[in-house]
């Protein structure tokens, strides 16, 4: 299975690197590949510990610090961009090393081992490193297994095809063009349009014809305010039972219609 490839070491000239060659005269590129395979300072430390084949709990800080620093220097000389985290770890190691060298003031007092915090961190990191390798080996979609994907049947078209005449197209354009510009900036002014006047206007129009489209009682120049006033006037009339407001379901147009009986 391909899953196994995940956690393996880089390949150089067709050969898989399994350990850092002891010989220092190795092609720098290979070394770079090898060093870049570490995911961080903790990873380097664990590698050094593992190479020495010692238990984390028996960590010899002095030796590991020296090795760690020589690796850092090596990486630096190869111009591998070092994250500051590597330097922080170097400082931590040097600090622990210096504390280890100091004699404990009194034999009775049980001092906390300076290494304990680092060891704890290494152990904790080791757990997640191990489990992350397990995760890498879990079967994964589109790498180790594949979901099926059948083509979809062609769906029946639910939408009615558009049918309109050139005349209707022209009418639609004229209408859209005549529509007040709602996006214009709106300034509230005192000289407002009179609702009463608009009522009179609507009634006048309706006295000549039975029904009128709402947008026809607007003047383009009046803008939003004109729409608002006209709507108010229409609602007022509707409330008094003098006109009926009808909305056409298909076209969304609003109409004002005279109610005959009400007109005395």
């Amino acid at each position: 299975m391909r899953a196994a490839v995940q956690a393996e070491l880089p390949i150089f000239k067709g050969e898989r690197l399994t350990s850092l060659p002891d010989d220092l005269f190795i092609p720098p590129n290979a070394l770079e590949l090898f060093l870049e395979d570490f995911s961080g300072p903790m990873d380097v430390l664990l590698y050094l510990i593992k190479k020495k084949d010692i238990n984390i709990l028996e960590l010899d800080v002095s030796e590991i610090t020296e090795q760690y620093i020589s690796y850092i220097e090596l990486m630096d000389s190869l111009k591998i961009e070092l994250a500051s985290d590597y330097l922080v770890m170097a400082a931590t190691l040097a600090h622990i090393k210096s504390r280890m060298m100091l004699p404990t003031p009194s034999e009775e007092e049980e001092e906390i081992d300076p290494r304990s915090e680092l060891i704890k961190r290494l152990q904790e990191y080791q757990r997640y490193k191990t489990v992350s390798e397990d995760l890498a080996n879990l079967p994964r979609i589109e790498r180790d297994f594949f979901a099926t994907m059948a083509g979809l049947p062609s769906f029946k078209q639910h939408q009615e095809p558009f049918t309109f005449s050139a005349q209707e197209l022209q009418q639609a354009f004229i209408e859209a063009n005549a529509r007040p510009k709602y996006k214009n900036e709106h300034r509230i002014e005192f000289e407002e349009l009179s609702t009463q006047e608009r009522i009179a206007l609507i009634l006048e129009i309706l006295s000549k014809r039975n029904i009128v489209q709402f947008f026809k009682v607007l003047k383009k120049s009046e803008g939003r305010q004109g729409v608002a006033v006209s709507l108010l006037a229409s609602l007022e009339l509707a409330k008094d039972g003098r006109v009926e407001i009808i909305q056409n379901e298909e076209s969304n147009h609003m109409y004002l219609k005279t109610i005959r009986e009400a007109v005395v």
Binding site: R2, Y125, A150
Partner: protein, 189 residues
């Protein structure tokens, strides 16, 4: 409409796992009122029907899906992957820490890994929909809390987070377990 076939059509064409309740709703839309148990029964029937085919039905975190049996994986691999794109160790460690310790902040991850978590890794995980932001920790800076998603489980063929491999036990650290190296101070002085 044959119920088994109808469910099969849903499974093989949806391109994602589908829940029983979702299938019920779809069938209901076609006037087929089925109990969840009846749908489950139909799925079992389909599983039997697929026995000698390249298909199988699996249940993952987000529902049921049809898959190609894994014995054909190597055959299909080249269709889906033109280069063997390797998932980086850094990404794997990051997703492992999120999966086992969730919810975690970037700071939590950095503390364990001892290295700064690159934004690319987090972005990559968010883009794969393997990780989501579940909230913010109530500390200064309000760092985002990261959690794994159902898609993460789906993509690893898992039903629940408990099916992940066990996290290795932590060897408890005590003063006794630390062997102090025999430092001969007399030599230094």
């Amino acid at each position: 409409m044959d119920i088994n076939n109808a469910i099969e059509s849903i499974l093989i064409s949806s391109g994602r796992p589908i829940r029983l309740s979702e299938m019920k709703k779809l069938l209901n839309g076609q006037g087929l009122d089925l109990e969840l148990s009846e749908i489950r029964l139909a799925i079992t029937a389909l599983m039997e029907r697929y026995e000698n085919t390249s298909l199988e039905i699996t249940e993952v975190a987000s529902g049921f899906r049809t898959q190609v049996r894994t014995e054909f994986s190597n055959l299909l691999f080249p269709i889906w992957n033109d280069s063997n794109t390797k998932t980086s160790k850094a990404l794997l460690e990051t997703i492992a820490i999120i999966a086992y310790k969730q919810p975690v902040t970037r700071g939590d991850i950095e503390e364990i890994r001892g290295v700064t978590v690159s934004s690319n890794i987090i972005r990559n995980l968010l883009e794969r929909d393997w990780v989501k932001i579940a909230g913010y920790r109530d500390v200064p800076g309000r760092p985002a809390l990261l959690e794994t998603t159902k898609t993460f489980l789906d993509d690893l063929n898992l039903k629940t987070i408990h099916e992940l491999p066990m996290l290795p036990e932590l060897i408890e650290l005590s003063i006794d377990t630390i062997e102090t190296p025999e430092t001969d101070l007399s030599n230094i002085v």
